[in-house]
Amino acid sequence: MMPPTLRFRRRLVQYGVAGAFILIPFLNREGVHLLSGNFLSFDFAGLPLADPLAAAQVFAGTFTLTPALLIGAGLALATALLLGPVFCSWICPYGLLSELVHARAAGALPRTQPGEMISPVSLAPAQADSPHLGCTHSKLNRCREAAENNPGEAAGGAAVPYSKERGRAFLRAPGALPLAVKTAVVCAGLAAVLAAAPVPLLNQLSMPGWYSRAVQHLALYGEILPGAALMLLAVPALEARTGKRFWCLYLCPQSVLLALAGMVSPKRLRVHFRRRSCTCRADDRACLGACSLGLNPRSDAARPEPLCSNCGDCVDVCRTRGRALSFTGHAGQLPVGKNDAALPQ
């Protein structure tokens, strides 16, 4: 029996967190204060947790930080330092909503299965000329041989030599532009707070913040918070229309500090691509299609992709193929599932 997929486990956590943040304000209303707060600042039975960006804005506005904010933001950043921006894919309730909307919007798109042949007619001329066309999982050895001889093309991307170029590969990664845009938004918001803005403006762009604030309002006053209703309806509607998770990619300022913290350590938890193990054809873009953020899991970059939130969707897809994608971290390579301890090398 196959162990539960990472996505299944992740969904359990995501639904659990989203449900907990519905329950907590109502428990608070009844006098139970073991857990309190929202996604901007939260108290977990005495342990403070805080949005690092909210703390940064308070610091920019007042040049002081309270111990609670310092510890709370520090814990969030330390988690990102070790595990990458896992908050986005495992915790954030808007991330869940956005993923569900994206999955629904992309539901009509065809998905390739292991061993499935794609008609050369449907391919672009450059892809149709690929020497690996027709290579399936049943021809594993041949594919591996081909991959060793011509690693770049076998992976479906340009060959990246092991040099300084590899170190800079993340600059050309699909996530580089979105991260630059988000960072610009954060810098503008912090500059505004430094200059004259009376309130921490960027908190108004926090979708998990709106989610939890909406429930707080409902529990405390029995009212719908108009701003939250607008944001939580309009943004997913736009994402459904465009078919892209543009808020998470280009606008969410909360994810910027987490992504930047994740860039500090090259050995943090990340998706690792073993080119030799890839058995997919050049045109089989299953793992690329699995990434709801549109990132490229088949990356040779020495540093982790900054925006990759380690959701594991690409690893899930690869489990039934060559198992070329897996998680690596400080502890070395991690098994994909409990039955996957012996990974093919």
Partner: protein, 166 residues
Amino acid sequence: MSPPFLRPPGVLSEKDFKARCISCGRCAQVCNYACIELTPDYFLFGGDTPKIFQNRSPCFLCMRCSAVCPTAALRDVAATDAGMGTAVLDRKRCVDYQTESGIMCWTCYERCPLKGTAIYLRNGYIPAVRAKDCAGCGVCEYVCPIDAIKVTPLRLLPPKDGEKRQ
């Protein structure tokens, strides 16, 4: 125009408060008396900062909100240092000051959480406000049957000597 509101106890200046408040709502969640309302400051997206509308539900100085504030937008201080504002008693309206009425109301005095300190009985029978001791909780305004006492919020008070406040 919205009715004048108070900030919860422990507030510093309005500018400092707004720079620090991150709308986590924990003050409202722990309030024993459900008197803290989270309403946007500017239209829809001004952040839900805590407000106390003393005409609807005043603060009873339980001080739980200021104890949990993670950003020190509300300082964790004693009830006597809440500093939310100052009550101003209109002697022309207060029946206790109308000697010919023969009424001794004393409602504000009896209900004041800092009874005897913030509101005391001058000459033993006329309620009066001692401004420097008043926490500005708004209970007196809430209970006064003839609206003879009003609380001026801290942000609308002129700065004291040597105090920098915006």
